[in-house]
Subunit: 318 residues, 2 copies
């Protein structure tokens, strides 16, 4: 059983975990458009492919899937996840299962404003968000929201062009400098991350690992500590079932005064997933079990509390 990891970048740990899990039973293939993607060199075999926006991109990936008898494929970067979801049937036609949620759902994850609206519509608590700055100014006047607030791109990642601002002047500047910006309430609380696996056969959430983010760096969790909270598990379970996610997803949640607010969803392995894996929440194993036609039992909350994770730099030399 071979697995193909697309746009592997520097996600060496994900490649390593699949290699370990497939040991003897299959190979891990990886792609990237750059030879400077270190995770390539941890795969059993790798391919340098065109950029995902190249016209022949999907056909190249499909031919790798056919040629190397790839059982399942997934991507580690956001724009490609939409692409995979869009071309799902073509992959299924060559016998490869793309591990991805539905296209509309995936697109919603990449639009922070759409996400807030969907959450609201379904009765989940959300973070106050504005795409029209005038509406925000009016709410400031009405005392409904206060500075500081965040100004960020509606479709952004890795904390690029995000700033915490305290004045009209800064908001005007940010909206002038960048297109498609939104204003979002500053959540003065604790931030959590959840690594979730929704069984692709039963559609049931079968793994939820939650951690408090202790230190962030460049928009990524640098240090975290595992936590267990039944209220949080229930919220996540309800949310992913309502939304209809499938496969592995990563959710950002804020806790302010005992209330949880879902902030963002990344419909892929999150950058902090190694914390979950090393704490015993083995999603690669669950994926492989699904690929063998078996349903996973729920292991929600089956890990120890208080496990601390710290990242450091390892290097590859070529």
């Amino acid at each position: 059983m071979n697995v193909l990891i697309l746009s592997c970048g520097s996600r060496n740990k994900i490649v390593q975990y699949f290699k370990k899990e497939l040991n003897g039973k299959g190979k891990v293939f990886a792609t990237d458009c750059s030879i400077l993607a270190p995770a390539l060199y941890d795969a059993d075999q790798f391919f340098i492919v065109p950029r995902i926006d190249a016209p022949n991109y999907i056909s190249e990936i499909l031919s790798i899937c056919k040629k190397f008898n790839i059982k399942a494929v997934f991507s580690l970067i956001d724009p490609e996840i939409s692409l995979l979801a869009k071309h799902k049937d073509e992959f299924l036609a060559v016998g490869t299962i793309p591990i991805v949620s539905e296209y509309e759902l995936v697109e919603m994850c990449f639009d922070k404003y759409a996400m807030v609206q969907i959450l609201e519509k379904n009765g989940f608590k959300t973070i106050k968000s504005y795409i029209k700055k005038e509406e925000f100014y009016r709410d400031v006047d009405l005392g409904k929201i206060n500075y500081p607030v965040f100004v960020k791109p509606i479709k952004g990642s890795a904390s690029i062009n995000i700033s915490k601002v305290t004045s009209v002047e800064e908001i005007e500047l940010a909206f002038k400098k960048h297109d498609q910006m939104m204003i979002q309430e500053f959540m003065d609380g604790v931030e959590y991350g959840a690594d979730v696996y929704i069984d692709i056969i039963s559609s049931e959430p079968v793994a939820i690992f939650t951690k408090e983010k202790v230190v962030m760096r460049a928009g990524e969790t640098d240090k975290s500590i595992s936590v267990k909270d039944e209220t949080l598990f229930k919220l996540i379970n309800d949310f992913v079932k309502t939304a209809g996610f499938k496969g592995m997803i990563d959710i950002d949640i804020f806790k302010v005064k005992d209330n949880y607010f879902i902030s963002e969803v990344n419909p892929r392995f999150g950058g902090g997933y190694p914390h979950a894996y090393e704490s015993g929440v083995n999603i690669p194993k669950m994926i492989i079990k699904n690929l063998q036609g078996e349903i996973n039992e729920s292991v929600i909350g089956q890990y120890a509390e208080g496990i601390r994770m710290m990242k450091y730099n390892e290097i590859k030399i070529i």
Copy 2:
């Protein structure tokens, strides 16, 4: 021969390299003020110590040096390097050699504006810099400098509060928001990093490894490629001898239209040092040789060109 690495943070590779080099001949001790410093867990023995600004800090470190017969000590964070340089004699009095340059030199490195002035005074090409925004505006009017420019803290690190700006309005805002800011010319060229070792007995630069920075992330080199250029080696050699550095330093250099401009000096192991080490430039070995009373031969430029380095995240769990 025991070595003590202070404020080891997430610099696991440095701890690992010293452990490998000392194998059997001595132990690596490490300290940090946080139990969430992953490099602690790679040392032979570690200590959680107060923050470097605590009144009893130096006496605690000195007592570790005495108790564990520490031959040499160095730090991996900037403010502590000044502290070590200041208290050099107290360490020497307990038989421990602090691997650090002179206090005034170290302080100069942490003041980007002072650095520019010293470079200029000694005839090295520098990056146009202003601490008075009015002088900058005047030079813009005179056509001596153009937008974009960088606004950054005079004493900053890790790209915190740095922004590339294109208008008076943004400069005014940055100066209003933060104290002690400076304006610096945008160098439209290639950025290099140099890992240098100046023999602590002979005071001669004995190792220079230079790399082109290919991708940056959060102010750190994420991907780089080794380069060799006699002009660059000569510039670095002249500069470190003129300035009088000792031990390991990391230099940032820009190349614009065939001219090299020294931008910054970190008087410690740089975040990209693993590239040099894995390319055969073994500074820990040179330090140990010095500690054994022997002078190192020059290995300047003794490495292959075109070696590529890529970082990825490894994790520690406790």
